[in-house]
Amino acid sequence: MSAIVTGTLQAGSLQAGPLGGWVQAGPLGGLLDALPLSYPDAVVVVGTAVVGFVAGLLGPLAVLRQRSMFGDAMSHGTLAGVAVAFLITGAKVPELLLLGAAVSATLAAFAMIALERVGRLHADAAIGVVLSVSLTLGIVLLTGISESGNAQQSGLDEYLLGQTAGMVERDVVVALALAGVAVAAILLGFRLLRSATFDPGFTAVAGVRTWVVDAASTGLLALAVVLGVRTVGAILMVALLVAPVVAARQLTTRLAALLPLSAVVGAVCGAAGGLLSGRAELPAGPVIVLLATAVAVLSVVLAPRRGVIARARSGRLRQGRMRQGRLRQERAR
């Protein structure tokens, strides 16, 4: 097995990770060996599939509440957190950098919500302000770090554009654990999530505080963003949150079906993109994003009932805007 690792290293598609020396002893050895792929390919494919799965599963939290671009500002917000975590610890411990990213992404999200609620800004202006300020803060910190001459700092800027080479089994284990948290949270909170998404007024009247729902869904979104940002990069992360949802949304009108479908679309695009980019020696983020976007556009055009073609054919294109409301009515049914 280690021969394969060295072979791939020479081909230049994968860098040695901290666990490179004893790869087979990893906790996922059985699972990774079961795939008909070389070990490094298997790590990347499982890793990107999990990232896609979580983004697809949690993406509806943003998209259905018309907060798609929240994801963009949150993923740009991770940079500052990564930089601060690195400044505090002075080393690149992946889990701590992840924690820093999660904290700053969450702060960015709350800043946007506060600007909307308390500052009475429009959503787009609130997102734009938070995005610019958190990105510039991240850049200033990263510039400071890169001029400090700390030898450990190389590679921090990968967070802007993402990278899968260098993904090791430990990263996949962390990703799987976080995916478990996401699935559990969705299963436990499904009813609340459904009513908060489609009928915020009812939810508030029923005694659930709006900020509780906001905080929970923001936390989950931060989890998805932080997990994906290393792989596809801060700039492209928003597409991974949105594209699977758009694709799945065309095929179902039920939230209970939308969430798993979108997660599967995300996972398949992630796995396929991870594999393809490794083979073609291309950066993984853009490949995954283009695949997911292609699926979404195909679905928008070709979907059986809501697709552009299907509706043009049935001559009901003009009613399209009314149909947007159908998912919302589903709850009342």
């Binding site: 600007l115 610019s132 850049i139 200033v140 510039t143 758009v246 950066p283 853009p286 976007t293 947007q324």
Partner: protein
């Protein structure tokens, strides 16, 4: 302050003026995120022109980049009007795809070329005074000529189209009824934004583009109640941020675009808290 420092401040200030003027309309129209999307979406245009002509800073580059910026705007608009995707999701779908194409183009065909992603994103404002061109026999920084031209063009456009722009931003239905061609004006505005984003992208990098379009205009929105004063205040915020941000960057020896962006963020927070009528303090006082 050396002449180079003054030059950097003037370039940043001019750019902030034009961005703030157009950004004011975008903020009022609820399209504040468009410059962010466009400044990413232009990358494949820049790469494509580089692959075709081998140039990376010519008029063709600006044309190619603007074409992709417009493509991004039109794609978003098509997705939104197809009625199946909300406008924010449409934006989030289109610009990452175009940016991905650009990155793939660079890494596949142009990895040896000098399309430096870092400088495109972080901006190389610091070195702007060093890249000169000759104009009427004098050596002038290229960025200065370009940003000055863009600023004059933007201000002229806004002054010429003042009435329809104003009407289309506040009351699109009235603008259409009054024969002011609201939709056409909207599209002209978007093309202008795309063109300016490209120019700004080339001279100061993507970060400042986003910041200059949104933050000063949002700050001014908190401080003023009328369109004209709002645009003036927005441009003033941009100049203050440029001067103060440059000073901070020099004294701390850090990224100039970064500190200019942060300074405009600080101005925004000050306005949010202290603005005479819409600020948090004033609103708390007004409540009995």
């Amino acid at each position: 302050m050396t002449p180079d420092d003054v030059m950097i401040i003037v370039i940043a200030g001019l750019l902030s003026t034009s961005c703030a003027v157009l950004g004011g309309f975008l903020v009022l129209r609820g399209q504040a995120l468009l410059p962010d999307a466009v400044s990413h979406a232009v990358l494949p245009g820049i790469v494509l022109i580089f692959l075709l002509t081998g140039e990376r800073a010519s008029l063709w580059t600006v044309a190619g980049a603007t074409a992709f910026g417009v493509l991004c705007v039109l794609g978003t608009d098509w997705l939104r009007r197809s009625g199946v995707v909300e406008s924010d999701a449409a934006l989030a779908l289109v610009f990452p795809a175009l940016f991905s194409l650009g990155i793939l183009g660079i890494s596949r065909f142009a990895s040896g070329a000098h399309i430096d992603l870092d400088s495109a994103i972080y901006g190389d404002l610091t070195f702007a005074p060093l890249r000169t061109m000759s104009l009427f026999g004098a050596d002038v920084p290229r960025s200065l000529v370009i940003t000055a031209g863009a600023t004059v063009a933007v201000v002229a456009l806004v002054v010429t189209l003042w009435r329809p722009l104003q009407a289309a931003s506040f009351d699109p239905a009235f603008a259409e009824l009054a024969g002011l061609r609201g939709r056409l004006i909207g599209q002209v505005l978007l093309v202008a934004v795309a063109g300016l984003a490209v120019v700004a992208f080339d001279s100061v990098g993507a970060i400042l583009v986003i910041t200059f379009f949104v933050v000063p205009a949002s700050t001014a929105r908190l401080l003023t109640a009328r369109l004209g004063p709002m645009l003036v205040v927005a441009a003033a915020c941009g100049w203050v941020a440029s001067i103060a941000g440059h000073g901070v960057a020099v004294s701390l020896d850090t990224s100039i675009p970064g500190t200019i962006g942060l300074t405009s963020g600080v101005l925004f927070v000050l306005a949010l808290v202290l603005a005479p009528r819409r600020g948090l303090v004033a609103r708390r006082r007004a409540r009995p």
